[in-house]
Amino acid sequence: MADARLEAIARACRVRIIRMLTHAGSGHPGGSLSVIDLLVAIMFGRLRHDPSRPDWPERDRIVLSKGHAVPALYCAMAAAGYFSEDALLTLRKLGSPLQGHPDRVALSGIEAATGSLGQGLSVALGLALGAKLAGWPSRVYCVLGDGEIQEGQVWEAAMSAPKLGQPDHPVENLTVIVDYNRIQLDDFCARVLDLEPVVAKWQAFGWPVIEIDGHDMGQIAKALDQSEAIKGTPTLVVAHTIKGKGVSFMENNPDWHGKAPKPAEAIRAIREILGVSERGWEAHLATDAATAGIVAELRRLDAK
């Protein structure tokens, strides 16, 4: 039951990701669609937070180190009540707090500016250590891109983490998740700079590693449970995902790393996300006023 609720939220977020990127005319759909299940599972499955008090010191924190996937985070934040859903359509527009990559100063609820890859894990370590020093029960979730771990700073952080704060303040309150969708901007990671063996590398740096299907809400929840139970060290979760998950023509296609869909593509993407056949689409829209409104709006956008 819990899984069905999270899956429904994730599905709604996928529609919004497509919609907002189409309005923005640029952005990163592939990695947003691969990471959204993970973000929804964290934010709606266990995050201790209060959207009305984003500066509550003892909150849990999410650091989206792969900042280019921030449309996914914005959609989850809007669904949680950090800001209105209408604001999503201001993504990447002049004056919007929804910057193309996360801006902590512009938008309450963003924990750190990211987007320059490789930096988020270090900040997350500092947050986790700071929470321990303060005696807060806060947990920190850090989401890394797979291509991102090509950055050297990630391995500086990985090397430092198991010993950081020991013996009194180990950063066991940190769960790091690699969104392993196997594709980076230019091409498949294995062709650009192979990451493998990912699990063995992190284990060699002293991390307990859990491997899961990053689109399976049950597996994500179990991994998060396990990471909370591990004491004395942070945990790494390797989440195997599909870039562009939910949209057939985006899935596993490097071309959709950083390109916004055109309105017609967006309408097809939304239909696929909702699991409706082409033939049944008009009938579906007749019964789904919200989606019909989005489709009408996208068609108007197309006509412009």
Binding site: A112, S122, L125
Partner: protein, 308 residues
């Protein structure tokens, strides 16, 4: 007060401040004996973190600590810590994390270790960030006040410290304020604006110049960003000639900042003393003579600038 390196005064100030401000923590990258945070680490072992030779990770962890209420001093040689500029730019500046970036071993004055260890471009890099004040104290008294100020300042700040001993230059009743310079010697013919390790030499140069009938005003510009625009404008208007003196590249350093302000607001003939080439190994005194940062070199450049 005897001559003391600003890194040493910094280390002492940290211990004193740390005793009354629990928020203060230090982070180092295997140079705590050189940055002089080692005393703080001994006194407060739970609040000192040595991250190994991994400056970027150190800066990021400092940002995270700042976002949970700590006041981190992240320390290394200026060239190494500012060398991780992109991490400072995003994790500290753009995030607006309350991190104090501390760069020691600035300038050719470090001597024998040579160029790779010399902070000579750090001001230029840090000046480009919109929200990071830059402070370079000139002696022990000022360093201790500047460190105390840094701990209270809310937001990122860059503190630039020397390896070499600094002779006292500040008046006994001196009070450091960000954006305020200290007039050390009044003059009428030319304004010498110096910072850090060159301030004492600028004062000595002014004495030499006096013997050559040139009246030099000498200002300690410890607040490199923001500039003390009021004092700069007033002094430039009075003397009509400005010379900047710094152990840093003239491109983007104090001289660059002064040049930018003067040319936009109060065009004034200007000579910048600083580096224009890579540093090199040698004894510090010999290097200062070679680069013209010693009293004789400064006086020579000023006299030539004055047409003598």
């Amino acid at each position: 007060m005897a001559a003391k390196a600003s890194r040493a005064a910094f280390g002492e100030a940290l211990i004193e401040l740390g005793g009354r401000d629990e928020r203060i923590v230090t982070l180092d990258a295997d140079l705590s004996k050189s940055t002089m945070t080692v005393g703080f680490a001994r006194q407060f072992p739970q609040r000192a973190f040595n991250l190994g030779i991994a400056e970027a990770n150190m800066i990021g962890i400092a940002a995270g600590l700042a976002l949970t209420g700590r006041v981190p001093f992240a320390c290394s040689f200026a060239c190494f810590i500012v060398g991780r500029f992109e991490t400072i730019r995003i994790s500290v500046a753009y995030t607006n994390a309350n991190v104090k970036i501390v760069g020691t071993h600035v300038g050719v004055a470090i001597g024998e270790d040579g160029y790779s260890q010399m902070g000579l471009e750090d001001i230029a890099c840090m000046r480009a960030l919109p929200n990071v004040p830059i402070v370079q104290p000139a002696d022990e008294l000022e360093t201790k006040q500047a460190v105390a100020y840094a701990a209270e300042h809310v937001g990122p700040l860059y503190l630039r410290l020397t390896r070499q001993n600094l002779e006292p230059v500040s008046p006994a009743d001196y009070r450091f304020r960000l954006g305020r310079w200290c007039l050390l010697r009044a003059g009428t013919d030319v304004t010498l604006i110096a910072t850090g390790g060159t301030v004492f030499n600028a004062l000595r140069a002014a004495e030499q110049l006096e013997r050559e009938a040139i009246s030099a005003e000498v200002i300690n510009a410890s607040s490199i960003k923001p500039l003390d625009e009021e004092m700069l404008g007033r002094s430039a208007a009075k003397t009509g000639r400005v010379v900047t003196v710094e152990d840093h590249s003239i491109a983007g350093g104090l001289g660059g900042a002064v040049a930018e302000w003067l040319s936009e607001v109060h065009p004034t003939p200007l000579k910048r003393i600083g580096t224009t080439v890579f540093g090199e190994s040698g004894d510090p005194r010999g290097l200062y003579a070679k680069f013209g940062f010693d009293p004789a070199g400064i006086a020579r450049t000023v006299a030539k600038f004055m047409g003598r």
